[in-house]
Structure formats: structure tokens, C-alpha cells
């Protein structure tokens, strides 16, 4: 049937050479001597530039049928399948059929046999090089689509793998415990924080179902709090505000845990365990501190407010009036002192030592200034200062002086009946570090072991009668200052005997051998 079609390149009104080449981009036109007259535009890409009228056999080898050596051989095969291979380039195989052209020419209407997208690329062909009706293009398009899909799938799977690794790291590095159950209540994921909080091994946990975990939690919970933690109950709760609860665990260590739960769309459940032990404790301390501060600030105000009101509205003797005014004055002084100390303490604490001006400072000078700075107008009692070694300490002189002042002032205040207030200094080491140890002792009222335990608490007063003035903030501040200097503070005391405050301050590097000798002699004295 194909044999009777007479193909034309130019005279056909609807198919000019360009249109023909688009319809048969791989055609080869031959003259009677089998010289190549013209090539389709895509065929030109494959065979490259060739000589004009070169013989077919120089460019192609006819594979099938055999013995197609002459024009007539091919003419006899018009409309039959023809397979040939290009001799140039990559050696592309073509299949098609010879057709009779005009002016005694033959047209080989061919299409390349390409198995894959890679082969198409190797041949330097793109999809536009194929005729739209050519099934080879469809096959190649399918091959390419498949290949692209495979590449996409691989890319997506890699992306998913990375994402999943990222999520795992996020989950794992989370400091809060996370556990994820699927809709069958089997554990799918669990992070290390969760395992740590509940004292579980990963393998154990992954073996558990919701009920097992509930039993485990109940076992760990602090029975005194009456908690009856249940993940299952929490899971059944649908009101969002109830999807949280607090657990008190007694084991593996005592903790308060905030447990939250969320449902995932696929029926799974995520539980989130947040250790709130520390923040609960901080909250409690803050409330306690505020309550204590409010109480302590109100106490002097009671006297100021009350006595002044009485003075305004009632008549008193001159002596009573003087006494009341003295009380108002004393209590307002206390109020001012308390506010100042609170501010000092808050400042020291909030800066966490950032504004400390630590420098090498003479211990001798520090002690001398501290004793001088102690304003005692109401008594002629003196501090007995023993010999101070000639060494330097690493301190912020202003802050450390405040601390020593406080200790000296306590020694006087708490020995109202008199007795010696003594300041001793010796050198000692803690670990390898040398410390200047300042001991301030009094022969005052002393403290019971219970009072001693609370001595550094803010607002704690060993004397609650109000007879000894004070704010209960001094020792807290001394402790804060000592700690900021990486120093030590300790109290020893005995009821009715007196108190010794022991303050250790790090020594500065020893400047010369003379000091070393002196230091050694001091240590020797200590040992003796």
C-alpha cells in the first residue's frame, strides 16, 4: 500500500521541504547512484556534516535486508522494512522503509531505535527532533518520565530520610520527655529524656503498651501526694484544659512533672513530660521571700504609723512623747537600712558578680578599713585585731569591706552584755588554693543549732524580740559576697558562749619570696 504513494518534497501543496522534514525528520534522499542528496534535519544532527553527494554506504551500513547494493534493490523493497546503522558518531541504528521520491530519487523514511533516555542524549537528540506521530518519541517520553519519577522518588525519599533524622535529633535533644503511641497504644517513639525521667531502658520502654506504662508510673509516683497518674485517663480527656496534669514522682528521684497530652490526626497520642521541680521550688522560694519581705517591711511601719497617730490625737506626758519619738526614729532608721540592704542584695544578685571589681588588695588595708568603717557611736568597745599577715587577697574592696563590717557589727550587736570581739587572720589552703581565713568571734548570746541552720536565710533573726536591731539581711549578703569571691563563709556558735564567723578569701598570687617565708611561718604557727 505504501508503495503506491508518491512522495514529494516540493510540489505537494501542503507539504513543503520544511514541513516534510518535520514529518520525517530522519529521512534520507538518494539519487540513482545511491548518493545522498538530502538529509532530514534530525538525521543531520546524528551523522554530522557530510560531503555533498556522498555514497550511502559511506555514511550508513544497511543491515537488513541484506544485499541492498543498488538503487533497484532498494526500489524493489519500497514499503518494506529496512534497518541500517550510521557509520559516523555513536553508530545509531535506524529502522524505516524506502519510498519512491520524485525525479528518480528514493526516500528512506527512518526513525532511530533508541532504548533509553540515555541513548537519546548520547545521540544528541531532544524530543523536538522526533516527529510528533513517531512512536519512538512516546516510548522515550515514557522512559524519561519513568526515569524522572524514579529520580524524584529517590530525591523525595532522601529528603524524607533527612527530615526524619532531623526530627529524631530534635526529639532526642529535647530536654523534656516525649513518648508517642500509635492508635493501637503501642509505643512508636520515645526520647532519652523520657527514659531518664522514668528510669527506663529504651528496649524496656519500646516493649510497653499504655497500660504497662501506667502501672510503671503508678509505681514510681509519690504515694504521699495521693497522685494517681494515668496516661490512659488523660488520653480519654477531650477538653483541652484538662489535657495536662501534674505528677509527683518519688523514684528514680523526687521530681514534679508536668504531663501534657495531644492527639495526632491518625489516632496516635503524644505525651510530653516537663520536669518542673526546679521552677516549683523557685516559685515557692519567691513567694516565701516576698511574704517575709512584706512582713519585715511592715513591722517598722507599724511603730512609725501607730505612734505618730497616737501623738497627733492623744495627750501624753513629755517623757512618753520623747520615748515614742525615739521609737519612731529608731524604726524609720531600721526601715531605711532594710530597704538599702534589700537593694544592695538585689543588685549583687542580679549582676551575679558582673560588676565586681576584683583586684589584688592588701589584706591589712582591708581589715583596717573594715574596722574603721564600723561606726559605733553608742559604745567604746573595740575590736581586738591580731597580727594580720602581709599578703594580698583577690577582692572587690568595697564589697568585701561591707561583708566584714556586717560580721563585726553582728559580733557587737549579739554580745550586748559586752565581752571581747576578736578578729584573727591566718592562712590556710582549700585543695591547692591558699585562702586568707578571717575569724571574728564574740562572747555574746550565741545561737542554738536550729538558729544556726537558718542564720543565712533572708530576714531570719536569731533575736525575734526586736531588742537587737537588725534586718535579717546582713548574713545573706555576706554569704552572697563570699560566694561571688569564690570564698567561704561558716558560722560556729554555742548558746550563751558566743559565735565565731569564719570568712575565707582567696589569696592573690604571692609577689615575692619574702612573703612566701612569712606565709610559711604563719602556716607553721597554725600547725603548732
Amino acid at each position: 500500500m505504501a508503495a503506491i504513494i508518491k512522495l514529494t518534497l516540493s510540489q505537494q501543496p501542503f507539504l513543503n521541504a520544511n514541513g516534510f522534514s518535520r514529518a520525517f525528520p530522519f529521512y534520507v534522499q538518494l539519487d540513482e547512484q545511491l548518493h545522498i542528496v538530502q538529509l532530514g534535519r534530525s538525521m543531520q544532527k546524528i551523522v554530522g556534516p557530510i560531503e555533498h553527494r556522498i555514497h550511502l554506504n559511506n555514511v550508513f551500513q544497511v543491515l537488513c535486508p541484506k544485499n541492498m547494493d543498488t538503487y533497484e534493490d532498494l526500489q524493489r523493497n519500497v514499503g518494506e522494512t529496512l534497518t541500517l546503522v550510521s557509520c559516523t558518531g555513536e553508530g545509531v541504528t535506524f529502522r524505516g522503509c524506502p519510498e519512491q521520491g520524485e525525479n528518480n530519487t528514493l526516500l528512506l523514511l527512518l526513525t532511530p531505535i533508541l532504548q533509553s533516555y540515555a541513548e537519546q542524549q548520547d545521540a544528541g537528540l531532544s524530543f523536538s527532533d522526533f516527529a510528533k506521530h513517531d512512536a519512538a518519541a512516546d516510548t522515550l517520553l515514557l522512559a524519561q518520565t519513568t526515569r524522572m519519577s524514579a529520580l524524584d522518588a529517590e530525591r523525595i525519599s532522601m529528603r524524607l530520610r533527612h527530615r526524619s533524622e532531623q526530627l529524631s535529633s530534635i526529639l532526642e535533644l529535647n530536654i523534656h520527655g516525649v513518648v508517642f503511641f500509635d492508635s493501637e497504644q503501642t509505643i512508636l517513639h520515645v526520647n532519652s529524656a523520657f527514659l531518664e525521667i522514668l528510669g527506663l531502658k529504651r528496649a524496656e520502654a519500646l516493649d510497653m503498651c499504655l497500660t504497662d506504662l501506667d502501672a510503671w508510673l503508678l509505681d514510681l509516683s509519690d504515694k504521699d501526694t495521693g497522685d494517681c497518674p494515668s496516661l490512659a485517663v488523660l488520653r480519654e480527656t477531650y477538653e483541652s484544659e484538662k489535657l495536662q496534669t501534674t505528677l509527683h514522682l518519688a523514684r528514680p528521684r523526687s521530681r514534679i512533672i508536668r504531663l501534657a497530652c495531644a492527639h495526632s490526626p491518625d489516632g496516635g497520642t503524644v505525651y510530653y513530660l516537663r520536669d518542673i521541680t526546679h521552677e516549683t521550688e523557685v516559685d515557692r522560694m519567691k513567694s516565701e521571700f516576698l511574704a517575709a519581705a512584706a512582713h519585715e517591711l511592715r513591722t517598722p511601719m507599724v511603730s512609725i504609723f501607730g505612734f505618730s497617730e497616737l501623738l497627733i490625737h492623744r495627750k501624753f506626758t513629755e517623757e512618753q512623747r520623747a520615748d515614742m519619738l525615739r521609737t519612731i526614729h529608731r524604726q524609720s532608721g531600721l526601715l531605711v537600712k532594710m530597704v538599702n540592704e534589700l537593694l544592695d542584695l538585689a543588685r549583687i544578685e542580679s549582676r551575679r558578680g558582673l560588676d565586681l571589681k576584683i583586684q589584688s588588695h592588701s589584706l591589712h588595708e582591708l581589715i583596717e578599713n573594715s574596722v574603721k568603717g564600723l561606726m559605733r557611736t553608742d559604745t567604746d568597745r573595740q575590736v581586738n585585731v591580731a597580727t594580720v599577715p602581709n599578703v594580698s587577697v583577690m577582692i572587690d574592696p568595697e564589697k568585701m569591706q561591707l561583708a566584714i563590717n556586717n560580721l563585726l557589727s553582728n559580733a557587737f550587736k549579739y554580745s550586748p552584755q559586752g565581752g571581747a570581739v576578736t578578729l584573727n587572720v591566718h592562712i590556710d589552703t582549700v585543695g591547692a588554693e591558699p585562702f586568707a581565713v578571717i575569724e571574728i568571734s564574740d562572747q555574746g548570746i550565741g545561737m542554738s543549732p536550729e538558729q544556726l541552720d537558718k542564720a543565712f536565710e533572708r530576714f531570719y533573726r536569731a533575736d525575734a524580740s526586736g531588742n537587737i536591731p537588725g534586718t535579717g539581711l546582713g548574713l545573706s549578703m555576706v554569704k552572697e559576697i563570699a560566694e561571688l569571691h569564690k570564698g567561704r563563709i561558716k558560722l560556729t556558735s554555742k548558746m550563751g558562749v558566743g559565735t565565731v564567723a569564719i570568712l575565707g578569701i582567696p589569696l592573690a598570687a604571692l609577689p615575692n619570696a619574702g612573703d612566701l617565708t612569712e606565709l610559711a611561718s604563719h602556716i607553721k604557727k597554725e600547725i603548732q
Binding site: 507599724v302 511603730s303 524604726q331
Partner: protein, 125 residues
């Protein structure tokens, strides 16, 4: 008629303030600086009024002393208790009323208002 008034506070200045506020021919004034003494003195003195601080050293706080007075068969009939404390939160006030105090005043207080309150409580006898 002169009746006994017991003033309980661990701060001597505040005891002095209350004593000066209460100074009149109506009262014989007594003072205590802790819960245990307050309870013991209340039992002995059978005061018509006790002015009671809450936070004090020792094992009995003001609430406990008030509760003891108000659950004592004899004292509950004769003794009015005014809690006089720096603890002014609702929960504290509620606790005061729960242990049976007749009035609750938060420090700092007005001595004149305290006088008025005492008058009112004793007058209602």
C-alpha cells in the same frame, strides 16, 4: 469594771504601741512575746480581750492560740480575740475567722481604729 487585756506580740515596740493605745482605766494590761506564754496567761488571767500577733517564735502561732481559746469551754464565753498581724492575704483572714477570731486587723494598723474596735467588742458584752 476593770478587765484584763492580754497583748501578744514578739516585737517589744509593737507591744508598747498597743499598750499605749489601750491605756485607760478600763484595762489591766498584760503582755506576752510568744504563743505558749500567751496561752498560759490567757488560762490564768481570763482576759476579756486578747490582741494576738500570728507569726511568733515557738511552737504555737497566733492562729493556734486563738483556736485554743475559742475551743476552751470557759474562755470562749469570756474572751474576745483580735488578730493583729502583718499577714493580710485573703487566705490568712479566712483562716483567722475559721479559728474563731472576733476581728482581724492587718498591720500597720491605726491605733484609733483599734481603740474603736476594742470599745465595740467590749461594749457588746
Amino acid at each position: 469594771m476593770i478587765c484584763n487585756a492580754l497583748i501578744v506580740d514578739d516585737q517589744s515596740d509593737i507591744r508598747k504601741l498597743i499598750m499605749m493605745t489601750m491605756q485607760s482605766e478600763k484595762f489591766e494590761l498584760y503582755e506576752a512575746d510568744n504563743g505558749e506564754d500567751a496561752w498560759r496567761m490567757a488560762c490564768n488571767l481570763r482576759p476579756c480581750i486578747v490582741l494576738l500577733d500570728v507569726m511568733m517564735p515557738g511552737s504555737l502561732d497566733g492562729f493556734q492560740v486563738c483556736e485554743k481559746i475559742k475551743t476552751d469551754d470557759m474562755l470562749k464565753l469570756t474572751t474576745k480575740v483580735i488578730m493583729l498581724t502583718a499577714r493580710g492575704q485573703t487566705a490568712d483572714v479566712e483562716r483567722g475567722h475559721a479559728v474563731g477570731c472576733d476581728a482581724y486587723m492587718v498591720k500597720p494598723f491605726s491605733p484609733l481604729a483599734l481603740s474603736g474596735l476594742v470599745e465595740k467588742l467590749i461594749g457588746s458584752e
